[in-house]
Subunit: 195 residues, 2 copies
């Protein structure tokens, strides 16, 4: 079976990093995708382990050749998720975990619709919702802005496949593990079992 | 959240009944759907518990009113899965498990596309496949017939959502439990979480 491309995303503050670390600790068969970057290696960092270290020209060439699933500039350095490495590894049957910001994940989804897109929600969204809907002491402008932000979040989250409320790292990781088992049972991933 | 309609099916000999019993034992929140029948109650059987006991005229009226998800005649008695009771219970948030034969399940799928359709495979299908594909000592006609039967099975199974190989009751039940957790995380079942 082709490996699973697991994309975990969510607004900042939802604890993506902690949940991903727990999953990688618990699931040795799942590998973390190594990014490419134009920043210089720090002492001890090895090309192809922590990152693929590229010159700015090499990075630009990768962009031009559409070798990235997604890329972004952060504090003057470029970071990208290489497409070809992921495809190779998925075809070898490896499961690959990507932790990407909300918009980056949707860019990946357009290129890799067979990935599993999991949207982490903070446990406090219900509380936020009640605050927005409830009798507000806020100004109408402030209330409107907060509602708009929440609606933007809706629109993004609804394009994912799954939503997991990160009320605790263990609960969230358990639900994601169940999602991975279920995805492996999907008929479209098991056509070979039907001859 | 609306309850899950869980439909477990598979060719005879795949152990559907045993897997369903295990699930009902382990998951107290999942209820088994009570069928309607025209056969007479046996001593101790209670209307609305083991079955909904209907006269033949009542049963025909339910058919005419499209009250059945599916129905079939077995040894001169009619058995059917009532549609309205299931819908009521799903709307109350109950999860409902149906164990139905292969064709009956696909009839249900046409009426209830939001159900979860799980196809159980016997562990020996790979072996069967190898036997069919392998150097045969069977006559070409016999080989062709077996291949046709297998292809018919493919076509039916591919219309389901999930496939679970029943290599052991515990493994199969665990995979189905994971499928239920994953289904509850699907974005389309959690639109209320996005405001």
């Amino acid at each position: 079976m082709r490996g699973l491309l697991i994309v975990i995303s969510g607004a900042s503050g939802t604890g993506k990093g902690t949940v991903c670390k727990k999953l990688l600790d618990d699931l040795p068969q799942v590998a973390y995708s190594i990014s490419a970057t134009t920043r210089a290696p720090r002492p001890g960092e090895v090309d192809g382990k922590e990152y693929y270290f590229l010159s700015r020209d090499e990075f630009n060439a990768w962009i031009a050749d559409e070798k990235f699933l997604e890329f972004a500039e952060v504090y003057g350095n470029f970071y990208g998720t290489p497409l070809n490495k992921i495809d190779e590894r998925l075809n070898r049957g490896e499961d690959i975990l990507l932790e990407i910001d909300v918009q980056g994940a949707l860019n990946v989804k357009r290129k890799c619709p067979d990935g599993i897109y999991i949207f982490l929600l903070p446990p406090s969204l219900d509380e936020l919702k009640r605050r927005i809907e409830g009798r507000g002491t806020e100004s109408p402008e402030s209330l409107q802005r907060r509602l708009s932000n929440a609606v933007a979040e809706i629109k993004v989250g609804l394009e994912y496949n799954y939503v997991v409320v990160n009320d605790s790292v263990d609960n969230a990781a358990d639900q994601i593990k169940a999602i991975l088992i279920a995805e492996r049972c999907k008929v479209e991933r098991n056509r070979d079992k039907f001859l």
